[in-house]
Symmetry: C2
Subunit: 359 residues, 2 copies
Amino acid sequence: MKPASSSSSSSASRAPRRKAGTHTIHDVAALAGVSAITVSRYFNAPEKVSAAARERLKEIVDRLGYVPSQMAGGLASGRGRVVCAVMQNIASSTFADLVNGMTDELKASGLQLLLANAQYSRELEESAIRTFAGWHPSALILTRDDHTPAAEAMLQALHIPVVEAWGLVEGRPFHQVGFPHPEAGVQLAEHFLAQGATRIRFVLPRASQDFRAEQRAAGYRQAMQAAGLPPDVAVAEVDDDYEAGARAMAAHAAQAPAARPQALVFANDNMAAGAILEAPSLGLALPRHAAIAGFGDAPISVRLRPALTTLRPARYEIGQQAARRVLGLLAGARNEAAAATRTLVPCTLVVRDSSRVGR
Amino acid sequence: MKPASSSSSSSASRAPRRKAGTHTIHDVAALAGVSAITVSRYFNAPEKVSAAARERLKEIVDRLGYVPSQMAGGLASGRGRVVCAVMQNIASSTFADLVNGMTDELKASGLQLLLANAQYSRELEESAIRTFAGWHPSALILTRDDHTPAAEAMLQALHIPVVEAWGLVEGRPFHQVGFPHPEAGVQLAEHFLAQGATRIRFVLPRASQDFRAEQRAAGYRQAMQAAGLPPDVAVAEVDDDYEAGARAMAAHAAQAPAARPQALVFANDNMAAGAILEAPSLGLALPRHAAIAGFGDAPISVRLRPALTTLRPARYEIGQQAARRVLGLLAGARNEAAAATRTLVPCTLVVRDSSRVGR
DNA sequence: TTGTACGCGTTATCAT
DNA sequence: ATGATAACGCGTACAA
């Protein structure tokens, strides 16, 4: 079976390409006695297909177990039915709740959520965005607002909706859903200031971690200065949050009672939990010897003794709203240059026993 | 955007399809003075491209910010560069660790991990598998072994590696990585039996939750019966694990001391934590009034007082091994009918203060 | 080591 | 409401 034509390799039959093994839209179309495009419309715009055809197609699709190829569809339409999200720490319950909110909201739309974990690193975020670019996503959801210049350039070049979820800052070119983290620091500081405390310490996790925590610390600083009091920010020396909290408590116990801060604001609930759990073995009775507050409203917080006062961000709702914004932007695709919107999903201060300032 | 089409103004039949807006492999090829296939090889098999071409291509790819289209590549090659995983509860730290293990292991391979959340429901798992089928994944990772018949059929029809991670049972047609959960129940029961305890209670979360917990309970039952003792399994009446643990402890306190179980095995660490945190307000001193053990080794467990004895599954490692098995199967693609393998990643019993049986 | 020709399965466009 | 045709961007097979 050599190609007879020695000259320009003409119509010589090539080896048939290996089939993917699954059914294609043409199999379905042939069985239903319609053309492929009708099957396509059956999936993408059922109302444009006659009821009769719809019924026959449903039966055949079910029988064959046919599932449209996302890759072929994405290639043909120029956009993948994918929303990509870059989280900072998949293992934390915070981001898990965000993801749940997004997933639930996107479920009905047929959009698949693609996740990446950047571990609080801008460089990893950039790399994730680059990877995602290959999927031609319909939209992108990020969880920070200080991208690398390269990442920022890619975001502009993609020409798709970009939503920054979790924080809320001014002057960004992208849509945002979340709350201003400095404001959260202010809220916590004022909770203690209102009780007449004058020595309030803010405890940060070890550097190079959650940059949001530092924004909250900045808010705390500002509130202290506004009250004419000296800010007092301590930074943990260990990575484990519980351990860091426990050590902060030990440092507290080591100070002379009169010099001790009256209140400790921890950058997150895990640190605060570590502190509360450690207190008894240090001979400290809470909240008398130290009023405590955290951030995040972890599930454990209400169980601690004393129960932990904390700030509760609406995590699930932020994920949901971010996804909803994406869907809205995709639907009303026209408003290209529409101004970036900012959606506030506020935190709630949850006051429990741990934050009663001793007198 | 320059028209990449070589055929010029002939047969102006149709409107040019809207471009995706990004660069294509041909843009890169043209700038480098090579053909498209060379660019393709530069990405997929760099060693087959001359060093000179490689260097020029690197420069151009960087300058353009070109990223190959996953959809076009997947469509052309018949398999997407995607591994799909169905988790049962994304919000739990258990599954987060699994995901981290998988992600890290897959990172270098260029395979993208697609996640779905089935919330302990077989039906949702089936639906996730159906959705995933449209992506023509290279492999599938699941976290249960009791799929619906329809799901099972799809798994067979996909003709791709399937790995069941987390549990380990006999007689399954798919590869497995994990540990036998009943065995975990046995381990915990025996830890208390070895201390001479005769009244040991197992506390399950509310029904319709984690079916693995019930497998562990079955192991506990078996160990008790083997020791000639009556099993005592309590089932929680509330969904919140902490609350369930607290209530179990209250029920314990309400019993006459002589009739109380000497030891409580909780189906997970969250329940155990709820119990330990509640004990002081019930007037119970642990472990004297109740020896406690959990399962999972949550981060909080070592912080509790008394610190919680628990079983530590190597979650990250299970995720990693599952991904590694996938990569192995994809590399040595030949062994189609190779027998399903089972990889044991054992649990470690972590003994702390909470489980000392009072005498 | 590099290039040519073709088709992967779907949807956009135009036509009926 | 339905169909014919031509892409979408890339990788496989084969040739040089």
